[in-house]
């Protein structure tokens, strides 16, 4: 983290290592916190990726005994939990932390100290979760991590079935880190609603700000129910309450409903930021204003609303009444409409544009292609009979990895390539970036494409091995080979970051010829962002300044 120190602050910059550490620990600056969020998120991404690699290694050949079944259970639980709560959430909060105040022309978030508090809660929560590897039996045993799956279905999580403290660690780690997320979500909403610079009305905000506003509202509404459900589970385990304890009359189905009432909005909390980054990057690299801005905003708002009412599609195989299933099938299909609208708007922005395929744009285009596939398999899964056929199979695994990896992670890489020059003042290497993109793109499709097939062939998810006579060998082998290609891609990324920090090209204030306010200040920005709070007259304030003869505000 200290390697990224470019605070641009001549007074407090102490040369000693301890002094610099203290500066990072005690900071309330949204930019430093943003960098810490993204860096820790990327570190957890490497850990989660390592867990996935071990699982794919185990599954590469049938009847493999590399990992024990219980180790495998721990790995998929930790992989899922890490990727959702310790990779997706911090990176999206971190990028928002860094970029949103600059895009709306503010000097910091509304509550800077609360922002720091939220970050440290997230980090300590994540560390508490990983501490379970050492301390999950209490402090008297060997310790081991949670093994109940990232959605921790009751009654498997009850004391009767999950001995020791591993599930408690899952509950407490996530509880602490979700407090942090809620705090930061509230902070973002307040910042966006109250701290915009003069002239920036709601309909003149960049699309990213709109999307992150809806995202923060979803965090605020959807995460407390998870906390409530986890607290009830904790009471079950520690004090003998009966909420999800089926022997005591409790309901396992209730847990599933509560979890997914959080869980499905969570999926949209994760994917909306991807929409946000792509909506910023595509217009700049196509040299065109975003197509259909009002529609984009309306689609975002309706995705936010509808996403709160689709959670039962995770429970189609539960045996609820046909009426309930049909209603939620309808709402699930409904959400494809605003999402599709966004796809058309991005493509509409590209049509007729002067497209530059720099690495950020390359990743954004990759996002469009992969997210489209993930979205279409999502529509397939929304059809109840089809869902019954492939529920809990590798088809579902393939589907949500196309959405969350092909969608979110590709967009995150696009965002990193796009804003890295702003954050550090150095450009990332284009050559290494293109290598990374193509390796990741090929490796990704090689890994997750075949999963659709093995799922159709009936391979259930979360099995630690399989027999050779099922016809799944080829598809699993392909998936595992794909992981190696992806590792090569990620290695290029790590190498690229290290190289560019040491001797990257100087970026200058505005390397991409951007249009939003973050490009109006130096790279890296001074601690106060803007010497004088800017005034804006249109959605693209920098366009107005660069083209005084043809400014945007004339058309808006």
């Amino acid at each position: 983290m200290t390697a990224l120190d470019h605070s641009g602050n001549p007074l407090r910059a102490k040369a000693t290592f301890l002094g610099r550490m203290h500066e990072w620990v005690s900071t309330a600056d949204h930019k430093k916190l943003g960098v810490m969020y993204v860096t820790t998120g990327l570190l957890f991404f490497l850990i989660g990726g390592l867990e996935a690699t071990m699982m794919r290694w185990q599954l590469a050949v049938p009847d493999s005994s590399l990992l024990s079944p219980s180790d495998f259970n721990r790995l998929f639980t930790m992989h899922g939990t890490t990727m959702v709560f310790l990779v997706g959430m911090p990176i999206l909060l971190g990028v928002a932390n860094y970029i949103i105040p600059m895009q709306i022309g503010a000097r910091d978030l509304a509550f800077p100290r609360l922002n720091a508090f939220g970050f440290w809660l997230f980090l300590f929560g994540g560390l508490l979760l990983y501490f379970s590897y050492f301390g999950a039996q209490g402090l008297y045993g060997m310790g081991s991590s949670p093994d109940v799956g990232w959605f921790a279905y009751a009654p498997l999580t009850e004391r009767t079935y999950s001995r020791g403290h591993s599930t408690d660690y899952w509950i407490l780690g996530l509880l602490v880190s979700s407090f942090g997320s809620i705090a930061t979500g509230i902070n973002l909403i307040t910042t966006i609603l109250t701290m915009r610079c003069p002239g920036m009305t709601l309909m003149k905000m960049p699309v990213m700000v709109w999307v992150m506003l809806i995202d923060a509202i979803l965090i605020m509404i959807a995460m407390p129910p998870l906390a409530a459900a986890q607290v009830m589970l904790l009471f079950d385990r520690l004090m003998g309450a009966h909420f999800f304890d089926v022997q005591g009359g409790g309901s396992a189905i209730l847990w599933q409903n509560l979890f997914w009432f959080f869980g499905h909005p969570e999926v949209y909390i994760l994917i909306l930021p991807a929409f946000a980054y792509v909506s910023e990057i595509i217009p700049v690299f196509c040299r065109k204003v975003i197509f259909g801005y009002p529609l984009m905003v309306a689609a975002t708002v309706s995705i936010g609303f509808i996403s709160l009412g689709v959670w039962v599609h995770h429970l189609f195989a539960l045996g609820l009444s046909p009426m309930v299933n049909t209603i939620f099938m309808g709402s699930t299909m409904l959400i494809a409409i605003p999402t599709g609208l966004k796809m058309f708007n991005w493509v509409g922005t590209m049509i007729g544009g002067k497209i530059r395929f720099d690495t950020p744009m390359l990743f954004s285009t990759g996002f469009l292609a992969l997210f489209l596939i993930g979205g279409l398999t999502g529509v397939m899964l929304s059809v109840v009979p089809f869902d019954w056929q492939v529920s809990d199979s590798y088809f579902v695994v393939g589907h949500f990895h196309y959405v969350l990896f092909g969608g979110l992670v590709f967009a995150i890489f696009a965002a990193i390539y796009y804003w890295f020059p702003k954050v550090t003042g150095k450009m990332l290497s284009e050559t290494l970036g293109k290598w990374q993109f193509w390796l990741l793109f090929i490796g990704f499709n090689l890994t997750f494409g075949p999963m659709h097939v093995s799922g159709m062939l009936g391979m259930p998810r979360r099995i630690y091995t399989y027999h050779a006579d099922r016809g799944w060998e080829l598809w699993n082998m392909l998936s595992s080979i794909g992981v190696l290609v992806q590792i090569a891609g990620v290695t290029f990324f790590v190498w690229n970051v290290i190289q560019s920090l040491r001797k990257g090209k100087d970026a200058g204030a505005d390397p991409w010829d951007g249009w939003t306010l973050e490009w109006a200040t130096t790279s890296p920005p001074p601690e106060y962002n803007f010497e004088e709070i800017p005034k804006v007259y249109s959605c693209r304030p920098l366009w107005d300044l660069k083209h005084p003869e043809d400014p945007d505000w004339k058309y808006e």
């Binding site: 809620i182 109250t194 002239g199 605020m220 959807a222 009830m232 009966h242 909420f243 005591g248 007259y537």
Partner: protein, 209 residues
């Protein structure tokens, strides 16, 4: 950004933007309340779901929580909590006018009324646990009751702690007219705690029977 402004003046001047600023403290407090409502909403939904799902023979809500049988107990407490909302509003008004003495008095009254509610809840719990033998382990009703009412009591406790902190600062002479806004935010939290109690009371004590 001086340059940014200077250049925009050289071209044809666009319409001067109006600055629009909501108060961020109020906005943040409202958001906090919304997320708290989501939290309590989940607990209450679970409580509603489990009403009447206990096996016959175990302790039922109607055995121990009947408002019509012992009206003095919980209704009395509720009246104390709800009226404290009035006192805190009066206190904030006093502070906004610069009347520190009046503020301290009304504020103290709020704390006392809130504390009475907490003591009342404690006595009710003592009765339930020691006399009736209802604990969180007894059955679904016990689990739900102690969780919902317990979380509400915890919020009252946090509120009382913050109120007392402000009271101590007032006694030390550190509260002034300009703090009226921060104090008002605290009063919003207190109103929220009261409002949630109305929902808890309706569901636990009336619908639950």
């Amino acid at each position: 950004m001086t340059t940014l402004k200077a250049q925009s003046m050289t071209v044809q001047a666009p319409p001067e933007p109006k600055s629009q600023l909501l108060n961020s403290g109020k906005c943040g407090m409202l958001c906090l309340i919304v997320s708290e409502i989501a939290f309590f909403g989940t607990l209450l939904a679970v409580y509603l779901f489990y009403i009447g799902k206990d096996p016959v023979g175990t302790i039922a809500p109607s055995d121990v929580l009947d408002v019509s049988v012992a009206p003095m107990k919980v209704v009395f407490n509720s009246i104390f909590l709800l009226t404290s909302s009035i006192w805190i509003t009066l206190a904030v008004r006093c502070l906004a006018r610069g009347n520190i003495m009046g503020f301290a008095l009304w504020w103290l009254l709020t704390i006392l009324f809130g504390a009475e509610f907490l003591v009342g809840t404690g006595m009710e719990w003592y009765g339930l646990i020691a006399v009736e033998g209802l604990t969180i382990r007894t059955n679904l009703f016990g689990s739900g009751f102690f969780t919902v009412v317990g979380f509400h009591a915890a919020h009252v406790t946090i509120g009382l702690f913050l109120l007392s902190l402000v009271f101590v600062l007032t006694c030390l002479g550190k509260m002034h007219k300009r703090h009226a806004e921060k104090v008002e935010l605290l009063s919003w939290y207190w109103h929220f705690v009261d409002g949630i109690w109305i929902a808890v009371f309706t569901i636990v004590y009336i619908l639950g029977n």
